[in-house]
Amino acid sequence: MLALDTSTSAITVAVHDGEQVLAERSVLDARAHTEHLAPLVQDALESAGLRPADLTDIAVGVGPGPFTGLRVGLVTARVLAYTVGVPCHGVVSLDALAEEAVRSGSVDGTAEFAVATDARRKEVYWSRYTVTAGHPARLSDPAVLHPADVADGMRGLATAGRGPLLYPDVFASPVTPLDVSAVALAEVALRQIAHGVEVGVDALYLRRPDAQPTSSSKSTLTEVRGDRR
């Protein structure tokens, strides 16, 4: 399985054979998903000694995450899966963070915890988890919200992701990891497959596109793509 995620500041890729990790590549660069992802994929496959045709499954983080980077991961995974002719499995990216928080022991083995990542525009993507049989189980659908709107009772939960770094006043107990690791994402995907759970590969945007029904949308367009002089 090739697993990848671009929903956080990490551009992360892993190759997993179902039992162990064969290769892992990550770059921290929230603004350059397009540039880094394909070389990382190629590199990871090479170091695992595999050709794309050897893959049997691809897993991808479907977010939530900043849209542009998220789409790069999704289109990369979907098109590669289509090209090679293998299934593409979605994983809620926050679940991959939760998975690593549990596996690394950064959250207590029984208590509830949360994941909060940067949603930009002074908001976070947030979900709450509990731990059952050594694995995280999500208690709420991923939401996008202002940190101030996180309920008082939830603020003290151990919280993974960059949310606590950005809003230390709200999230009182920061824990690692900060960003998604494709290794953890692969583990979640493999477990989903084993349990017959299929998460689609639709992007979790959680927000509608900004669109003003005025002339300003056209002039924005021109600004971006007008002739260079």
């Binding site: 542009t68 098109v79 029904p213 056209k218």
Partner: protein
């Protein structure tokens, strides 16, 4: 592969998801999915809406292209993609998709310039490009006069718009006249019922403007002049003669475009003019360009309208030329460059 490479091209610089397949200099298929209807109610392209649509349309469009052309992806010799200029987020979807294809198939990747592709597309329509060729590219995002000695390697910009693009002017004037978006085809149609009765301004065509901006265009003053003319009528409580305004506006645009294009051919001693971009579909532009090229002894080439607007075939056409001329493929680290200059043909 040597003399007839099979090249798949992807275009996502604006609101069209285009996938074209070319074998050598022969077009096999030009598949398009457009999100234009989703933008219509906003009166312009909304970048985030376009990017979301590209993501969803990508695989269905690739699939449709392959099925229609009767080729299997595995036969593809190279992948080409628009890497700029265009909407950043939209370009990235295409670039990432193209990279995945290149990695998955183990074939070279060519990131190419959108404007150069608009020129190269005529190769699959009318055969090899005369070298040099003059190209007038007029669309919703661009208005450029390009001197093209070698479409894979050397293009220089003689002039471009200093404000609105020609297609943008059509779209904005259409709104003033209460016509739907995109306005170009509606103005074209309305104009056929009207007469050129109003002498609207021709931007950058006289005196010092002409000296400083010999081959540049300006359509913003024209757009304002039309809006003011219409508003004065409306204030006076008089009906607006939509067909006549459309015809007069259109005449002003195509007069300047064709005059400068032919003048550029003369100045550079170039015997061939090609027109591309969405506005090349305009019937009056085609007619006046033909008339003026005939008078100047310039051969005019205009691809069919479907190949003038944004499409994947043009990217495949340029990609195939890159392969045929032995150009170096792009690195897998290729980025999308929203303001890629036309002098940069590949990335």
């Amino acid at each position: 592969m040597a003399d007839r490479p099979l090249v798949l091209g992807i275009e996502t610089s604006c609101d069209e998801t285009g996938v074209g397949i070319v074998r050598g200099e022969t077009l096999l298929v030009d598949a398009i999915a457009s999100s234009v209807d989703e933008h219509a109610r906003f009166g312009g392209v909304v970048p985030e809406v376009a990017s979301r649509a590209h993501l969803e349309a990508m695989i269905p469009t690739i699939e449709r292209a392959c099925t229609t052309a009767g080729v299997s992806l595995r036969e593809v010799d190279a992948v080409a993609v628009t890497s700029g200029p265009g909407l950043a987020g939209a370009l990235m979807v295409g670039v990432a998709a193209a990279k995945s294809l290149a990695v998955g198939l183990g074939v070279p990747l060519f990131g190419v310039n959108h404007l150069a592709s608009h020129v190269a597309v005529d190769i699959v329509e009318h055969g090899p490009l005369p070298e040099p060729t003059m190209a007038l590219l007029v669309s919703g995002g661009h208005s450029s006069l390009l001197l093209v000695p070698d479409v894979t390697n050397e293009i220089s910009s003689l002039g471009s718009t200093i404000d609105d693009a020609a297609g943008e002017a059509f779209d904005k004037v259409a709104r003033v006249l209460g016509l739907p978006f995109p306005g170009g085809p509606h103005i074209d149609r309305a104009a056929r019922e009207g007469q050129v009765t109003i002498d609207f301004p021709r931007g950058l065509t006289t005196g010092r403007d002409l000296e400083r901006h010999r081959f540049d265009f300006s359509f913003s003053g024209l757009k304002t002049a039309v809006a003011r003319w219409v508003e004065l009528r409306q204030r006076a409580g008089e009906p607006v003669p939509v067909a006549d305004v459309a015809a007069s506006f259109q005449e002003a645009v195509v007069d300047v475009l064709t005059r400068k294009a032919v003048a550029a051919c003369r100045a550079e001693g170039v015997g061939h003019l090609q027109i591309g971009g969405g506005v090349a579909a305009n019937s009056r532009l085609r007619a006046l360009a033909q008339e003026r090229c005939d008078a100047a002894g310039v051969e005019l080439r205009v691809p069919r309208p479907g190949l003038c607007t944004d499409n994947g075939a043009m990217v495949a056409a340029l990609g195939a030329q890159m392969v045929l001329r032995g150009r170096t493929p792009s690195d897998l680290g290729l980025s999308a460059d929203s303001s890629m200059p036309v002098t940069e043909i590949s990335a």
